[in-house]
Subunit: 322 residues, 2 copies
C-alpha cells in the first residue's frame, strides 16, 4: 500500500509526494518510529467511526479508514471516519481515486506538522493541511481536488531544495519572518497560507476535524517526521464518504456531472490559455503518459532507492529509465 501510494503520486506528476518520500519512510521504519503488523482498534457509533492507526504507516491507516468510510456510507448514506495515531499518508488523491472507482463521493482532510504561521504570526503553528474531494463523473475523468492549504504544497519546496532551485516570491518566509526565494531558507521558516486569512482559517478547520475531534495531535502536537525521532507523529485524518444513490440515481448524477464539466470546458479562454482544466484532469493525462513512458526520478532519489535496494538484494535497474 505504501509503495502503491508513492508510485501513484509520481504517475500523477505529484513528484513531491512520490518515491522521493521512500527514504524518510524507510528511515523511520528502521528507527522504530513506525509500526508494522498488529491491529488498528476502532469504535463505531451510528455513522461515526474513530480509527486508531496505532502508529502504522499512513498509507496503511488511510486504506483502512477509506474502506471503513465506504462501508459505513453504504449502510447509512454517509460514513464519517476520524483517524488518530497515524503518520504521513501520502497524497489524498490515492484514496480519492479508489473511492470514485467505487462510485462514492469522498472528502478527505489531514493535518500535518507545523509549517505555516497563523495570519499575523511569524513562525509555524499549523500544517499545510490538505483539503481534498473526489467525485465520479460519467465520460469525463473524475473530479479530483487535492490541495495543500498553503500557497503551494510544502513538498514542492522540498523538491526545489533537492534540485537546488529557487522558489517564487510569495510562497514562504524565512525563520526570521522575512520573504525568501531560497528553498532551504523556506524549509527552515514558514510556508504561507493560501489567500491570507482564508487559507489560515481552512487549515485550522482541517486541524480541528482531523486532530482536535479525533484525539490525534493538533497544532504543535503533530510531530515532524524529518525532525522528531523520539515520538510517533500522531497525525490525524478525517474521511467523509457519501453514497450517491441516496441523493439521486447514479446515472442521473453522472449525466449532470458530465453536463457541468462539458459546459465548464466550453467556456471561452483568455489569450494564450489553450483550454479550461478540471481539477485532476492534468494529473489524469500525466498518469496515462507515465504509464506508457515510465517515471523519471531525480538522481538523488534514484541513488537513495539503489542503496536501500542493495541492502535487501533488490535490483532496481530494470525499473529506472536512464
Amino acid at each position: 500500500m505504501v509503495a502503491e501510494s508513492l508510485v501513484q503520486a509520481d504517475l500523477r506528476g505529484v513528484d513531491s509526494h512520490g518515491v522521493v518520500r521512500a527514504d524518510i519512510y524507510l528511515r523511520r521504519l528502521e528507527a522504530g518510529m513506525v509500526q508494522t503488523g498488529g491491529i488498528m482498534p476502532y469504535t463505531e457509533d451510528g455513522a461515526i467511526r474513530i480509527l486508531d492507526g496505532a502508529n502504522h504507516f499512513g498509507a496503511v491507516v488511510g486504506c483502512k479508514a477509506l474502506a471503513m468510510a465506504m462501508e459505513t456510507s453504504r449502510k447509512y448514506g454517509c460514513g464519517v471516519v476520524g483517524v488518530k495515531g497515524s503518520n504521513h499518508f501520502g497524497t489524498c488523491a490515492y484514496y480519492l481515486l479508489k473511492a470514485v472507482r467505487q462510485n462514492q463521493i469522498m472528502l478527505i482532510l489531514s493535518n500535518a506538522s507545523q509549517t505555516m504561521p497563523p495570519t499575523g504570526g511569524i513562525r509555524p503553528f499549523i500544517g499545510t493541511n490538505p483539503f481534498s474531494v473526489g467525485v465520479p463523473a460519467g465520460t469525463h475523468p473524475p473530479f479530483i481536488l487535492d490541495m495543500a492549504t498553503s500557497v503551494v504544497a510544502r513538498g514542492k519546496i522540498i523538491s526545489a531544495a533537492q534540485k537546488g532551485e529557487p522558489i517564487p516570491a510569495g510562497w514562504a518566509i524565512d525563520k526570521y519572518g522575512n520573504p525568501t526565494t531560497d528553498a532551504h531558507a523556506a524549509l527552515e521558516g514558514s510556508v504561507l497560507p493560501l489567500g491570507g486569512a482564508k487559507g489560515y482559517a481552512i487549515s485550522m478547520f482541517i486541524d480541528i476535524m482531523s486532530g482536535v475531534l479525533t484525539g490525534a495531535g493538533f497544532g504543535r502536537y503533530v510531530n515532524n517526521m524529518y525532525e522528531n525521532w523520539e515520538d510517533p507523529q500522531n497525525v490525524g485524518h478525517f474521511f467523509i464518504a457519501l453514497d450517491i444513490p441516496r441523493f439521486m440515481p447514479l446515472e442521473r448524477f453522472k449525466a449532470r456531472m458530465d453536463l457541468y464539466l462539458d459546459e465548464m470546458k466550453a467556456e471561452p479562454t483568455a489569450p494564450g490559455v489553450p483550454e479550461i482544466l478540471i481539477p485532476g484532469e492534468l494529473e489524469h493525462r500525466c498518469t496515462l503518459a507515465r504509464m506508457r513512458e515510465g517515471i523519471a526520478l531525480p538522481a538523488k532519489v534514484e541513488d537513495e532507492l539503489r542503496v536501500w535496494g542493495e541492502r535487501f538484494d533488490l535490483n532496481l535497474s530494470d525499473a529506472i529509465i536512464e
Copy 2:
C-alpha cells in the same frame, strides 16, 4: 427568520449581507419570484435528507435544513441535508451560530449565481460559493469560518458600489477580462477566485455538492436574483452536521478546542499586529458592540427601509441611529 438573518449579519459587521439585502428580497417577493407558506417536501434515506425549498425565502429553507441536519445528526452521528429549490439565504454564519449553540459541528455550503470565471476563463461561470464551518469551543467564542471562495465576497463589491468607493486591485476583472478597481465595472465583470486555481476548484466542489448532487441549479442554472425576474433562483445548499459526543465527551472536546485556541492566540506576532485572531472572533466582538450601540446603516439603505416601512405603516425612525 429572514429579518433575523439580515440583522444578525449587520450585528456581526458583515454589512454586505445585512439589511442592505432587504430591498431586493422584498422586491422579489412582491414580483412573485419567491413563495411564502406551503410545505417544503423532503425525502429521507439513512442519514441523508433531500429538502426541496419549494422556492421559499432562503433563510426559511436554510432554517428548515439546519433543523433537519441537527435532528439527523443526533440520530446517526452525522446528518447530511442536500437542498434544492432555494434562494439566496444570507450568511452561512446565521445557521452556524444556531448549530454551535446546540453543541453541533456544522459544515454549510451553498452555490450562487455566476460571478467568477474558471481559471483561464474570461467570464463568470461559477458563483462565489461560500464555504463555512462552525465549531463550539469552551471558554472561547465559537470557531466560525464563513468565507466566499472569491478573493473577497461579492457583497463587499456591492457595498463599495453603493458607497461610490473604488475596490482594491486584484479583486475583479471587468466584462472584457481586464483588471479593474471600479466597483460598478467589477459587478458587470467577474470576481476572481481565491488563490487562483485553488479557489476555482473549491468553488466547483461546492457547486457539485450543492447543485449537481441535490437536484438544484448549478453553473449557469443558478439564476441571478438581481437580473432574472422570470425564473426562481433554484439555489442549492449542502449541510453536514456532526454530533460531537459520538467522537469524544463534549467537555473533553471543548477543553481541547480551548487549548488549541489558547495556544494559537499565544503565538508571537509580526510587528504592528496586536494579536492573532481566530475565525469569527472579530465578528463576535462586533456583535457585542453593536448590541450595545446599534447598527449604523448607509443612507441609501435607510431610505429603502423607510419607503418599504411607509407602505406597511411601519415607523422605522425609532430603530435608526441618526
